[in-house]
Amino acid sequence: MLGTASDEKLVARALAGSNGAWHTLIKRYEQRVYNYALRMVRHPDDARDLMQEVFLGVYRNLPGYRGDGVFPAWLFRIASYRCTDYLRRRRFHTSFDEQDIGIAAPDDPHKQTLATHANQQISAALAGLPTEQRHVVELKFFQQFTFEDIAQHLGISPNTAKTRLYAALRKLEKHEDLRDAL
């Protein structure tokens, strides 16, 4: 079945010209990439733009994927590059619309309100960090990568990655919104 195929198999099929395999690959990672983008750029419109840029980058670089690493790690390396580039290029939305980070499943309004609130607090706190620190926090805590992976992604040493993370945590420690999110 195409739906249960491994990432590597889907990549191989996509490279052989299978649109179905490529779409399955996108479908598998679009939510993860979208949420990554949402935490990095906060605004849903920007997150959608960034998500498109990430998948465009993946598509363009797919022939260069050697399959010797884990696909998500490779994908998020591209995402990190794209995001850094995106943040460098665009001017941030200075005012944050409280309604912007919405939750897709409106089945339980109370849960939805809490989830929206938590997402907003976390995004607001992360937005206060410099881009390079935000990357490390994102990759360590939300993508569960090791310091070695993060170092490889960002082209820095594991120690530098750790130093950036600790600097970020010390800044976040003072952020009251984060306490509210919990």
């Binding site: 649109n19 490529w22 779409h23 996108i26 479908k27 679009e30 939510q31 993860r32 979208y34 949420n35 949402l38 935490r39 849903p44 419109d45 959608r48 733009d49 998500m51 498109q52 840029e53 998948f55 465009l56 598509y59 995106y86 290029r89 665009r90 001017r91 980070i101 919405g102 939750i103 897709a104 499943a105 989830a115 929206t116 938590a118 997402n119 976390i122 706190a125 926090v137 805590f141 939300f142 310091f147 750790k162 600790y166 945590l169 010390r170 976040l172 420690e173 984060l178 306490r179 999110a181 919990l182």
Partner: protein, 202 residues
């Protein structure tokens, strides 16, 4: 244990990847060091926040947009728009480039216009670039394109105005010449009688 050693081992401590002895040493350090304690709590807090983040599904219309960048069916969706835009720009360029052949027509007396800078612009790379860039970039570039188009239209308006003045001036001059010619013809056909002239003088 010093703070820098404790910091190096902090994640391994939190993720329980240290030997019993090392774990005890880091734990002892944490009890007596407020700074490292703060870092430790920060890691725990951030881990908790990552857990409370509620994954948001991309909007339903996002998927076709993403896919449309890659397959032929998607190309079929944007290609008509791109073709229309190219056609529009070409029509505008041709219209301004060849005023002599414009639908309204202009007299042959008009001075030939100077070549338009837009006429020399290859629009295809510009449009390709626009398509590949982000939303904000696209907007900025579209605005720049509109400004260029407006400037070009202004320049053309001035040229047209000058041309019209030229035509009017020549028409006025031509009218005078025509009037003179008409008077001469009248004088030839209906010469004024000399007697009458004398009579009038009397």
């Amino acid at each position: 244990m010093h703070c820098d050693q404790a910091e190096t081992l902090m994640f391994d401590y939190v993720e329980d990847r240290l030997s019993h002895d090392m774990r005890m040493r880091v734990g002892d350090h944490l009890e007596g060091c407020a700074s490292c304690q703060g870092l430790h709590n920060g890691i725990l807090d951030m881990q908790a926040q990552a857990r409370v983040w509620h994954d948001v599904a991309p909007p339903p219309w996002q998927l076709p947009r993403v896919h449309s960048r890659f397959d032929l069916s998607g190309m079929a969706q944007w290609f008509p728009s791109l073709a229309s835009a190219v056609a529009l720009i070409l029509v505008i360029t041709i219209y301004f480039q060849q005023p002599g052949q414009a639908p309204l027509g202009q007299p042959a007396l008009l001075p030939s216009p100077t070549p338009s800078p837009m006429a020399n612009t290859d629009t295809q790379p510009v449009l390709e670039h626009l398509r590949a860039s982000s939303r904000d970039q696209r907007q900025q570039e579209m605005e720049a394109l509109v400004r260029l188009l407006k400037a070009e239209m202004d320049r053309r308006s001035l040229e047209t105005e000058e041309s019209l003045r030229y035509v009017i001036a020549h028409q006025i001059q031509g009218q005078r010449e025509l009037d003179d010619l008409s008077r001469q013809v009248q004088q030839i056909n209906y010469p004024v009688p000399a007697a009458d002239t004398r009579g009038e003088r009397m």
